[in-house]
């Protein structure tokens, strides 16, 4: 499994390296803007960092789905499927590599954001307008009609819930890709059918999570339960996908 994960990482590391490089440039611009007190540079770098945090995590997941699609539908599939590994391991390595990348990436950007906000807070006397704007933005964040708590615990629970939800979305996309390759291959409207299946499953999981968490009054508990439901569905989706691969997939 570790060897499979190594090669899964090898397929995506250049994309991640580029993301890290651009983040480093944005962070340097942020620090320059902060200490030279140039609000325009600071504002732009904050926007860029927020975009990179969100876009980067989205990109890791999307790229992982594209890699799976390539590994199912091109001759490169032989590289994986002729090795003495079960399809549970092959898919498991992909899920773990992608899930860990999303969690580590999310934790990295959360830590970076916390650090930058701390620095900004320390200088908020001089940069009052920008700090107020960020506080205003954060105070408008809501989840399931609850206002988020703007403290470390509240933000951590929110980030965990978002990341777990994104991992589940990626695994649901894996499921759709495998259904397309294993069961709908060669059939008309293959792509459309698997996309509709992806949307239907995403809606169903969302409905289950909303129903289960509807009566939870505390926003932080709600976020944690929602994230846990996402991870539980991720495990179920992985098992179903792997069984289909094991029994039906020809490459």
């Amino acid at each position: 499994m570790l060897k499979l994960m190594k090669y899964e990482f090898r397929k995506t590391w250049i994309t991640k390296l580029i993301l890290l490089g651009v983040t480093a440039v944005a962070e340097i611009a942020f620090l320059i803007g902060l200490y030279v007190e140039r609000e325009t540079t600071l504002g732009l770098s904050v926007m860029l960092l927020m975009f990179l945090a969100l876009g980067g995590i989205l990109m890791i997941g999307l790229y992982s789905v594209m890699t799976l699609h390539r590994d199912m539908n091109t001759k490169q599939s032989y590289m994986l499927f002729m090795t003495p590994n079960s399809r549970y391991s092959i898919l498991g390595a992909k899920v773990l590599e992608c899930g860990l990348s999303i969690l580590i990436g999310g934790a990295f950007y959360f830590a970076l954001g916390t650090l930058d906000l701390t620095l900004l807070f320390a200088k908020s006397g001089e940069l009052n307008r920008l700090w107020s704007a960020i506080q205003d933005f954060l105070s408008h964040l809501t989840f399931a009609n609850h206002q988020l708590l703007i403290d470390m615990e509240g933000m951590a629970a929110f980030v965990f819930c978002l990341l777990a939800g994104w991992i589940l979305t990626v695994i649901t996309a894996y499921f759709a890709v495998v259904i397309s390759a294993a069961l709908l291959n060669g059939k008309r409207f293959n792509g459309l059918l698997s996309f509709v299946l992806f949307l239907a499953l995403s809606w169903f999981v969302g409905w289950v999570a909303r129903t289960v968490t509807a009566s939870i009054p505390s926003i932080n508990t709600l976020l944690l339960v929602d994230g846990a439901i996402s991870l539980a569905f991720t495990a179920v989706m992985y098992m179903i996908t792997a069984i289909i691969m094991e029994r039906k997939l020809s490459v």
Partner: protein, 232 residues
Amino acid sequence: MLESKEITKIFGTKAAVDHISLRLEKGHVYAMLGPNGSGKTTWMKMAAGLIKPTSGQMLFEDKPVDIDSRRKIAYMSTESFFYTWMTVKDVGAYYADFFDDFSWDGYRAMLRQMELEESMKTKALSSGMMAKLKIAVTMARDAKVYMLDEPFNGIDLLARDNIRRCILEHADENKVLLLSSHLVEEMEAIADKAVFIRQGKLAEVDDLEEMRVDRGASMADRYREIYGHTEE
């Protein structure tokens, strides 16, 4: 050693392989012959565990092909299948990571024989060089069964001699070698058994020596008799 029992693979409405029962015994080099689309590649891919049969069974040492059989069966596809980011060295490292029977020394010796450098990028290789790389990495395994799909495709005469020599070096009484090719004359110099497949069905299996002695026919003659006037 490797056996299919009534194995069938249907794509859509077409049977690519149609109830083929075939047993390959160790100690022989088999030539699998047939025109394009006759089912050779599909049969090999089912033996390699890449394609799931619609019905029937593929057995290795009397057990259905599975993870364990992939440890002992070396399959070389006719298509290029390496990751494009790989160098020739990366390809060796990949095989070394996943196949316990892979030999770095054997791989490097074959790379020298094939005039390939470890630093070469696979995406920059010509079709001939790619064919040689596929042979080198596949034959660097100490497998029980080697299945080579069109090993001479896109390869010049001199390289073909190298590949033929390399294949024959791996033939021994405990191994099965199965090769498919359109170059019937080329195969005649390597194989001792011929498997003729026609429109997804097994036409016949011949011992080439017997065919030459008893019928005074070559593999090419038999090929013409089986496929002439109907498919080519």
